[in-house]
């Protein structure tokens, strides 16, 4: 009896599989997922955390060679990701852990370029597969639930003031090519790379995403978070114009 029920329960799956094989609809998708996953494991896993959870130790973040990717689907804009993987350009001026790539000079510390490695570039086909597989990773989905970015009207000079003077983001981030701090990722490309909801959520509480990251929680109010997301969207692409 019990076995009969088990067979009945698995019947829809069996039917679906049979139908998929006959029509050829499921096979390419499954194959693509497998190929993308395998590619990530082969090419990316040595530098990126693909499975989570995030490290909770200082030693852990210092040892990191690239950003965590187990919530890539919550973080990135898919179209940007596929393009960047084919033509990667440095986003973190001093690398994944800045402390490993700086040297003292008479004036101030500078980035030691000789210690920085370029990110490998992928073929168009591999980039498509990898980006698709990365966009399936949603470990941070719950944190984005309820995040609603509101469009605000913001004159550029007010955005500059907020970013530079009032909140001090400029201390660690560049808001233009060659202007700003170097220990955090450049932010004049942030809105090209990142989903608005992710930018909002990360700025609201960086440690919710990355418990030991060296970006402080600035206790930003919703109004300022909306303004900063808007500002990042305003400055994105300015350098190319």
């Amino acid at each position: 009896m019990r076995r009969d029920f088990a067979m009945l329960r698995s019947l829809p799956l069996a039917l679906w599989l049979a139908l998929a094989v006959v029509t050829g609809t499921a096979a390419p998708t499954l194959a693509a997922d497998d190929a993308g996953g395998a590619l990530l494991t082969e090419r990316c896993a040595s530098c990126h955390n693909l499975t989570g959870p995030a490290t909770t130790t200082v030693e852990g973040i210092r040892a990191r060679k690239g950003p965590d990717l187990f919530y890539a689907g919550d973080k990135f804009r898919a179209e940007w990701l596929e393009g960047w993987l084919q033509k990667p350009a440095r986003i973190r001026p001093a690398g994944a852990f800045y402390g490993d790539h700086i040297k003292a000079t008479d004036k101030w510390d500078v980035v030691d370029e000789s210690t920085l490695a370029a990110h490998p570039s992928l073929s168009a086909a591999d980039a498509r597969l990898s980006a698709a597989a990365l966009m399936q990773r949603h470990a941070g989905r719950e944190r984005l639930q309820g995040v609603k970015v509101e469009e605000v009207s913001l004159p550029m000079f007010m955005g500059d003031m907020l970013f530079d003077k009032f909140k001090g983001c400029i201390a660690c981030h560049q808001s233009g090519r060659d202007y700003g701090g170097l220990s955090g990722p450049e932010l004049y490309t942030a809105a090209e790379r990142l989903r608005p909801e992710f930018m909002y959520s990360y700025m609201q509480n960086p440690q919710a995403w990355d418990p030991r990251i060296w970006m402080p929680n600035m206790h930003l109010a919703a109004e300022d978070l909306n303004k900063l997301v808007t500002y990042l969207q305003m400055i994105a692409g300015e350098e190319e114009q």
Binding site: V58, W108, K165, I170, G181, S183, P206, P216, H219
Partner: protein, 135 residues
Amino acid sequence: MSTRAGQGRFAIAVLLLSLLWAPLAAPVHADDAVSPRAAELLYRTYCIQCHGLHGTGSGINVRDMAVQPRDHTDSEAMSGLNDERLFKAIREGGPAVTKSVLMPPWGGVLSDPEIHALVKYLRKLCACEEKRGPG
């Protein structure tokens, strides 16, 4: 009867012990005991980006800053700041001690014991003690 009284005493002892334990069990990011070595690692992870590899206030971020970070090796200036003020500046940021917003609040990532350990590390960097006074 005596067994019941014994159980009662045991329950009270457990309760008292748990009350004693409660403050220690409060959520902190790290163990209460933060070693000098761990404090140095914290400094070299969170602080050197602005205060520099040698703690002199010349980190990789300073070039475009409107206000320069404090030189932690300046014995005279650092001895004028008491430990309480240093703790507050790290935990709550520059504006909490009427200083620049460019010094952000680290209370969201560093525990109180870690910040206390950092204050001790700053005293080592400046090779100075706090002066008595308002700070």
